[in-house]
């Protein structure tokens, strides 16, 4: 299974070559290759349990594939984790928040590991996701939708080139979903890259949208 190479004119940054992954007795995918360039969004779809999340984790460098490799700017991800992760942000199934820390404390730690971010940056990101008034609430007191918004704020403030989003619409209301579409469109317009796993259709406009269906 392979999708066409990046469109001429866009700079190809992320490249996956011949990926194969097994989970126990089952082969999730094999000979999977693609490349993703600036301003492109790859929408990965497939039925439940077909390995969408596993593929994302391989692309992040969390899971070691059976064969094949992922490279970022021509360098193998497994060998250059720090360079890759400095330009990547991941929104996973879990929100990765500490319940005993406020939204602001959670983000300030995650972001300060990446770059010297000022408190204003964080407040601004939290404002954008609509949590201006909840930023000092302990994360365990937030609703599921609000937690998801904090995760999105982390991606927004990360200044990452590549966004890896695993079901970002989960737990969000309709305005929330529209907001996700809007920020993804903006990210693509500023030459960002998006890897999106979502079982429903998205409403991203602009950028170059590509599909990858896992069997």
């Amino acid at each position: 299974m392979s999708t066409e190479p990046a469109e001429p004119g866009t700079e190809s940054l992320l490249e996956a070559k011949d990926l194969e992954l097994w989970r126990g007795e089952r082969r999730l995918f094999s000979q999977l290759s693609f490349s993703l360039g600036t301003g492109e969004l790859l929408h990965i779809t497939g039925v439940n349990g077909c390995g969408k999340t596993s593929l994302l984790r391989v692309l992040c460098g969390l899971t070691l594939p059976e064969t094949g490799e992922v490279s970022w700017r021509g360098q193998r991800v497994m060998r250059n984790r720090a360079d890759y992760h400095a330009e990547m942000t991941y929104v996973g199934h879990r929100e990765s928040l500490k319940g005993e820390l406020s939204a602001r404390e959670n983000l300030s730690f995650d972001l300060q590991l990446r770059h010297a971010s000022s408190p204003e940056d964080i407040d601004q990101a939290l404002d954008r996701v609509g949590l201006a008034r909840a930023r000092d609430v302990m994360a365990r007191g937030l609703s599921a939708g609000q937690k998801r918004r904090v995760s999105l704020a982390r991606a927004l403030a990360s200044r990452a080139r590549l966004w890896v989003l695993d079901e970002p619409y989960t737990n969000l209301d309709v305005p929330g979903r529209d907001f996700v579409d809007q920020v993804m469109s903006e990210h693509l317009a500023t030459n960002g890259l998006v890897l999106l796993v979502a079982h429903q259709s998205h409403g991203v406009t602009g950028g170059r949208i590509r599909q990858l269906e896992l069997a």
Binding site: W22, G24, L64, E66
Partner: protein, 245 residues
């Protein structure tokens, strides 16, 4: 070198090789162990201090030396598997663990049987016996970790890391136990295993050590082959090799 590693590391190649080699090592082990044991039990002169009781060293010393040898080999195989991602090496390490644990257990059992007539007790906190005991725990930890992880790939890598950590620690454990022992044991209990030996005794002992080594290789080949079959049960080459369609 790379080509060699990868050729040897390919399961079909290993399968054929192990089928050919197993009987050779198996028969060599049978002959050497029979000769060494008979020689040790009947031909070697009794020890002037320990009498006939010393003859258990013909089992004790080979199994004690194998217990350490197998662990080192297991850890090295695991490291090769972890670094170069060769599955066969993981299979070899996994197969070596129970064999090594058995040797360790045998060394402990024969050691305590020896201790009974020598010191009148089944167990002494002798430095060597204590290190053997810790080594047995290391084997158990390795096998327990493997058994606790469902995913084979992860089990391979996690247990390989554990084996390497254990390998680094073995010299520290041995040293610390010896240090502890010298501070605590009264001088009347001398160390086991190193009685002054004349040439005749040594010959039979070396025969037995070589026999144990061949036995280990034969058993390792068989159980690594079983491990390879288990891992490759859906693959075409295996069905061809076994004549199953």
């Amino acid at each position: 070198m790379w080509k060699f590693i990868h050729k040897f590391g390919s399961p079909p190649h290993f399968y054929r090789l192990s089928v050919v080699l197993t009987p050779w090592f198996g028969w060599a082990a049978a002959i050497l162990i029979t000769a060494g044991t008979l020689g040790g039990l009947y031909l070697a002169p009794p020890d002037y201090q320990q009498g006939e009781g010393f003859r258990i060293i013909y089992v004790h010393v080979p199994s004690a030396s194998m217990s350490m040898f197998v662990y080192v080999n297991m850890a090295l195989a695991a490291a090769v598997g972890l670094i170069w991602r060769i599955k066969l090496a993981h299979a070899v390490a996994a197969a070596a663990a129970p064999i090594g644990a058995s040797f360790t257990f045998l060394a402990l059992a024969t050691g305590s049987i020896w201790a009974k007539p020598m010191w009148g007790t089944w167990w002494v906190w002798d430095a060597r016996l204590t290190s053997e005991l810790v080594l047995l725990f290391l084997y158990f930890g390795y096998m327990a970790l493997r058994a606790a992880i469902d995913d084979e790939n992860r089990a391979d890598r996690a247990s390989a890391l554990l084996a390497i950590i254990g390998l680094i620690n073995i010299p520290i454990i041995k040293y610390s136990v010896e240090w502890w022992n010298t501070l605590h044991q009264p001088a009347t209990i001398s160390k086991m295993g190193k009685p002054a030996m004349d040439g005749d005794m040594l010959t039979w002992l070396l025969l037995n050590i070589a026999g144990f080594m061949c036995f280990f290789i034969a058993v390792l080949l068989i159980s690594a082959r079983a491990e390879v079959i288990r891992r490759a049960r859906d693959q075409k080459w295996l069905k061809q090799a076994l004549g199953v369609t």
